[in-house]
Amino acid sequence: MFENLQYVGRTTLRVFENLGHGSIFLFRTLAGLWEPIKRPSLLIQQLYSVGVLSFLLILVSGLFVGMVLGLQGYYILSDFGAEQTLGVMVAASLVRELGPVVSALLFAGRAGSSLTAEIGLMKATEQLSGMEMMAVDPIGRIIAPRFLAGFLSMPLLTAIFSMIGVLGGYFVGVGLLGIDEGAFWSQMQTTLDFWDDIVNGVIKSLVFGFVVTWIAVFQGYDAVPTAEGVSRATTRSVVYSAFAILGLDFVLTALMFGDV
């Protein structure tokens, strides 16, 4: 009984301790951001490994998500004789929800996990402490470029995901199922608003990029410097990212679309 109480207390304290460590770490990272700005080659290297290498995954997933939306939407909408609104359905669901959320989840799995593993391994092999010995700040040199690259890549990847998804829906709807092309685009354009839909989607992706990369680099930096510790940190990075994305998505949706 007493031990259980102790366990609950210890776990709660640890959660707050981790949150505190994470916040302090975030501030140090933000303070270290001048390093990649001063030396853009650091940033470009990371944009490559975080953004470019996720590109193909995002492209293929976006295409198939859009094609499935087109197919499912067609079967449901044709029951009501409203196939013409397929474009609206595909574009609205991609731009508002699926684009930011699914690409953030994929990003957490593809780029977030590799960031965590990379930084965790650097810590385990004492490269980070080696840098400190040479009076090089590992936060500015290692963490900040990765953080900035993730934050910048996310909205670009989301935009690519949404665009390819819409084109996939177009391919299925207009190309395979024979919906009128004019109705597909024009209904989409009259229904979707630039500020309410597109910009809100970009804001969502910026928030997700910030949170996912923060979680990934912090879990790597905070990992227990053993093989097992790195593997646990990588798992935690993906799991926490998924929770954060889905939870934040609800909050952001409520804020953005709640009062319409």
Binding site: S41, I44, Q45, L47, Y48, G51, V52, F55, A91, V95, S153, P155, L156, L157, A159, I160, S162, M163, I164, V166, W185, M188, Q189, T190, L192, D193, F194, D197, I198, G201, V202
Partner: protein, 157 residues
């Protein structure tokens, strides 16, 4: 050196692809392209009932969209709705006796304001009120009236 140059090229391509995607979403998917640099003026109309009319609903003449609903307010003295419509400046030849009606596009489609030009020599300007308006048809009211009439008719027999 060669390696880092290739990486930089790939990153450049990636960023370009992302920006093209954003541009595509803005221009092709959303309505941004139909808003570019259009000067407009406001005309107003009073309606007894605006039904399902919303801000940004289309305003059209002869089926062609010439503007959008800007604001819908409630006049608490007259118990009427006042609809402000922004009309593109190039369509500045609407006569002062133009009629405004609220129609529905299709059976379940969105509602829009249809303008029917009159024969007056003078044209509407910024902030003018349309005198002749026709309210939205509310489906429940129509059905109710129809059933009421039906019941009256059967009572006579």
């Amino acid at each position: 050196m060669q390696q880092s140059k290739t990486i930089a090229t790939m990153v450049g391509l990636f960023v370009t692809a992302g920006l093209i995607a954003l541009f595509f979403l803005a221009m092709q998917v959303s309505n941004l392209s139909s808003f570019q640099g259009n000067e407009s003026y406001i005309i107003k109309a009073r309606f007894e009932n605006v039904g399902g009319l919303k801000v940004r609903s289309p305003v059209s003449v002869a089926g062609v969209r010439i503007g959008r609903v800007k604001v819908i307010t409630f006049d608490k003295e007259a118990y009427e709705a006042i609809v402000d419509m922004s009309i593109e400046s190039r369509y500045d030849t609407l006569p002062t006796d133009t009629t405004a009606s609220i129609f529905t596009s299709g059976l379940l489609g969105e509602q829009y304001v249809g303008l029917e030009p009159g024969g007056d020599e003078e044209f509407l300007g910024e902030g003018d009120f349309l005198e002749l308006t026709q309210s939205a048809l509310v489906l429940e009211e129509m059905i109710g009236r129809f059933l009421f009439k039906k019941a009256e008719g059967s009572g006579d027999n």
